[in-house]
């Protein structure tokens, strides 16, 4: 069977050499593999183990909802709702910019955004934080989310993400207080206040949200997850629950707030009000009209909405007139003039002065409203009937007594023309006219004349260059009512956990204390009480039949240039031991008694729980 040449008796030397060679090759190869394995596993094992762990572990941020904001009775003013945002996760995005641009173009079409705008928003953030995701659009509709999920391969790296969006159930009511929430921006990144905040986290950007951000801001949770090669979640390794921010209880009373804004809407639609506890500085209401719906800021704000809230034609709804107004105050300023005159000894509460109906200063006649003459009167009566001439005289005398700045000194002490220090950002100080101020303007050529005594006469009744806002007036009136304490108004009352348990009481800051004699402030209080109750009192008819005793002052500020007068009312109640001050103004309401005083009455009704409808049906009101 076997052929000759297939017989091979023994191992030839030649074959032995060749087999040895094959064995040698095997030996060398095994040696190479062993050395390589030794290097990989024994010498570099730790490094590769770290790499393997890097491979599989991803940290996913779990957004914490912000704390809710409630009113003094626990009613929700600001809460959260869950929404879907479209985010880009760097892991999944195309690696090159041209590819990403194509993605932005597709995404732009889907989200109705300009691709350029997406690129401008996203690219810098990707550079700054290459591993954390970037929000493209907040609050997208569910069908769009489904579309994205069904077409993942067309949108690599695009992922819908659950986010919490602020919600303002009362819409326009209190809109100016809360402010907005937005992502931490480049500029804020280095602020030590935001040490724990990551780029892309949402923080308070204005209003209460900004002021109390450190309480409202929650602590984001983190989920360390194990992912497989495709990035699919495989196992949760460690989870730190997101912690919702603390609840913030404001001193605001939603009813008062609503009443105030409704009252303002019933006027010319442009105005503001402030309601404060005269003893504690707690603000029960602070509103400005026109208002806006803060829900537009809860997600990426639309250009159209933004234009609207900043539109001057629409009265600049974003402006908080209660702390940024800057208006002449009219006769409501007489409280300041009275305090200055009494405390600097120009008059006593009983010093009689003659009101002949007008006073000529520097050749210019200053007259009472309507040209009436009130005859001889002392301070109480002058406040009650709001005699301008009486206060003109005080202004005139103040200008020539001592350093001539008694009015300015006292106005300043009472907080006029300076920030009240309320716990809201962006307060404007307003303007208290002084000789120095006007003379400097004159020297700079910005005005036609230097300071004259006429300026002080104007100031004595809150006309002319004075710029103050309802919050400042409320603080000044409160100081007279509480024995000389100039309060810093506070909105924030306390920090609570979700169930309403107090975590931290927000301490009322210490008030500035003024030396005002009890006799003098009583005289002023009496005058204000008369103005709201005595026959001939400027607001007596407005408060007729109101079950709470009110002390209050009307104000009508001329704004010149044919513009309608600014209408003011500041009330202290209940007399004689006031608990609240209410300051309200309407930019074009005319006489204080005609517009602002009835608004104040509505607010006071809400404040004291007076059922106005019942009163009206009783026929007692003659509004």
């Amino acid at each position: 069977m076997y052929l000759d040449n297939d017989r091979r008796p023994t191992l030839t030397p030649q074959l032995a050499v060749r087999v040895a060679l094959i064995g040698g090759i095997a030996l060398v190869a095994f040696a190479a593999i062993f050395f390589r394995l030794w290097y990989l596993q024994v010498l570099s094992g730790d490094r590769y183990l770290a790499e393997a762990n890097d491979n599989r572990v991803r940290e996913i941020k779990v957004q914490a909802p912000r704390g809710e904001i409630v009113d003094r009775n626990g009613r929700t003013l600001v809460d959260n709702r869950a929404g879907m945002a479209v985010e880009l996760t760097p892991d999944g995005l195309p690696k090159t910019l041209p590819e990403r641009r194509e993605l932005y173009a597709r995404l732009g079409e889907l989200l109705a955004m300009r691709p350029k705008a997406i690129e401008r928003d996203v690219e810098p953030e990707l550079k700054a934080l290459p591993y954390s995701s970037v929000t493209v659009k907040e609050d997208v509709d569910a069908p769009l989310v489904w579309y994205l999920l069904e077409h993942q391969d067309e949108f690599p790296g695009v992922e819908p993400e659950r986010v919490f969006l602020r919600e303002y159930p009362h819409r326009e009511t209190g809109a100016h207080l809360f402010g907005t929430v937005g992502e931490l921006n480049e500029r804020q990144k280095n602020d030590p206040r935001y040490r724990d905040v990551e780029l892309g986290d949402r923080i308070g950007q204005s209003g209460i949200e900004l002021e109390y951000d450190r309480f409202l801001r929650g602590r984001n949770g983190a989920s360390r997850v194990q992912v497989d090669a495709l990035g699919n979640l495989n196992r949760r390794l460690k989870f730190r629950d997101p912690r919702q921010g603390s609840q913030l209880r404001l001193s605001v009373d939603l009813d008062v707030q609503e009443a105030g804004q409704e009252a303002l809407q019933g006027g010319t639609g442009k105005g503001a009000f402030a309601v404060m506890d005269v003893n504690t500085g707690e603000v029960l209401g602070l509103g400005s009209e026109p208002s806006f719906d803060p829900n537009i800021f809860a997600k990426t704000v639309k250009k159209r909405d933004l234009d609207r809230v900043y539109s001057d034609d629409l009265g600049s709804p974003i402006t908080n007139r209660a702390i940024q107004g800057g208006y002449p105050t009219g006769s409501t300023f007489k409280l300041v003039t009275a305090t200055a005159a009494l405390e600097s000894g120009i008059i006593t509460p009983d010093t009689p002065l003659v009101d002949t109906g007008s006073l000529t200063v520097g050749g210019i006649p200053f007259s009472n409203a309507g040209g009436v003459s009130h005859g001889v009167l002392a301070l109480r009566q002058a406040l009650t009937v709001s005699s301008d001439v009486f206060f003109y005289r005080l202004g005139l005398q103040a200008n020539s007594t001592g350093d001539g700045l008694a009015l300015q000194h006292w106005a300043r002490r009472l907080g006029i023309g300076r920030s009240t220090g309320i716990d809201l950002p962006n307060e404007l100080p307003g303007l208290l006219p002084t000789p120095k101020w006007r003379n400097r303007l004159f020297e700079a050529g910005d005005t036609d004349r230097p300071w004259s005594e006429g300026d002080n006469v104007n100031l004595s009744v809150g006309q002319g260059d004075l710029k103050a806002d309802p919050m400042q007036m409320a603080v000044a009136y409160a100081a007279i009512a509480n024995g000389g304490r100039v309060l810093r108004p506070r909105l924030g009352q306390r920090i609570e956990d979700a169930s309403g348990r107090v975590v931290q009481q927000l301490e009322a800051p210490t008030a500035r204390r003024l030396e005002i004699s009890a006799e003098n402030s009583q005289a002023i209080m009496d005058g204000l009480r008369g103005a709201a109750s005595a026959p001939g009192g400027t607001s007596t008819p407005v408060f007729e039949g109101f079950p709470i005793d009110i002390a209050g002052k009307t104000g009508t500020a001329e704004k010149g240039l044919g513009r309608a007068d600014q209408s003011w009312y500041v009330a202290l109640a209940p007399y004689p031991d006031p608990k609240y001050v209410v300051a309200v103004t309407d930019e074009a309401g005319g006489f204080g008694a005609a517009t602002a005083a009835p608004m104040a009455r509505r607010i006071l009704a809400a404040l004291f729980g007076v059922d106005e409808d019942a009163l009206v049906s009783g026929g007692a009101s003659q509004d």
């Binding site: 069977m1 076997y2 052929l3 040449n5 297939d6 017989r7 091979r8 191992l11 030649q14 074959l15 032995a16 060749r18 087999v19 094959i22 064995g23 090759i25 095997a26 190869a29 095994f30 190479a32 593999i33 062993f34 390589r36 394995l37 030794w38 990989l40 596993q41 024994v42 570099s44 094992g45 730790d46 490094r47 590769y48 183990l49 790499e51 393997a52 762990n53 491979n55 599989r56 690696k95 194990q226 992912v227 497989d228 090669a229 495709l230 495989n234």
Partner: protein
Amino acid sequence: MNATPVAHFRDRGVRVLPIDPLLLVAALGLVAVSLYTVATATQDDIPGDPNYYLTRQAGYAGVGIILMLLISRFDYSRMREWKMGVYGLMIAAILLVYALGFSARGSKRAIELGVINFQASELGKLLLVLSLSAFVVDRMRRLGDRETTSRIMLVALFPAMLVIGQPDLGSGLVYLAIAVAVLFVAGTRWTHFAALGAIGVLAVVIVLLAAPAMGVEVLKPYQVDRLTAFLNPSDDPGAEGYQINQSLTAIGSGGKTGRGDDATQTRLDFLPEHHTDFIFSVVGEELGFVGAAIVLSLFALLIWRALRILTMSKNLYGALIAGGITAMLMFQVFVNVGMTIGIMPITGVPLPLMSYGGSSVLVTFMALGVMQSIYARARETASVKGL
């Protein structure tokens, strides 16, 4: 060899052919490690069926062992007479894949045969060894001629080119390695090997450098990428370098004693092909240096026994077959393991007895059956001669 006549007659009486126990131990040991590794590496791959790959691999191994034992009883020398039929069968099977083959991952390599996808190129490895050795034996008298060397190489190159065209570059290279080994064992002159080596270098240069430069695509771009990626895996960690990097990470993270059930690279799918071509990486990650060393030792044992059988063979045909099979095993082990540790290109060569896959497991066991047959005939002849 020093068996007494009594013992020798008793052996013959029950007709129990001897089997090389160490070769058997090495093969069974490797299959055992393979089953363990496949089981742990694939338990999450098929949802709801954690043992999908294990049961199949165990089935292949069982059938393979039976085939090995049957073949070891068979006299391999008969194959010499059927050399043309064997060679024809190989070519026909490969062509059948072209005709009927279905596309698996873009390449046609397998024919669906009920339970297993039959990979003709795997069976081709053994058929080539058997037929090529026979051709060489026939031409032994003219072994010194250049014509013999070139003819034998062409006979191997034809099926090699066919499977490379499938495209299965790895198997094609195995064919060439087999041819070189058979010639080497037969005693072909060194100068011929030098010439073959020069041609080989030239071919690599043409395929990888010259042809693409002239716009001719000999290999698919992904094949070129795979072949060159190991030189610089971090260049492109996203694509071809990815496999190598993940494999290195897997093996390296195994450390001295392995990560066992914490083997995340494998379990979380970071390592592609973890049950087939990259199964050695799984061993490295789960069992560490110790486990890898055990597997390599088993292969070393296997190769040692194979070389020993080569030297024992009662005839030249058996020696050439043993040489071809040894080369086939060595080439696959070194190229595969080298690939997983980043010192060899990715060519898609399975790790014999370890990688999941019916064709590879069955063919390797059949090859070992032939080895046992050579061993058995050698022992038998030795007994008859009373050596």
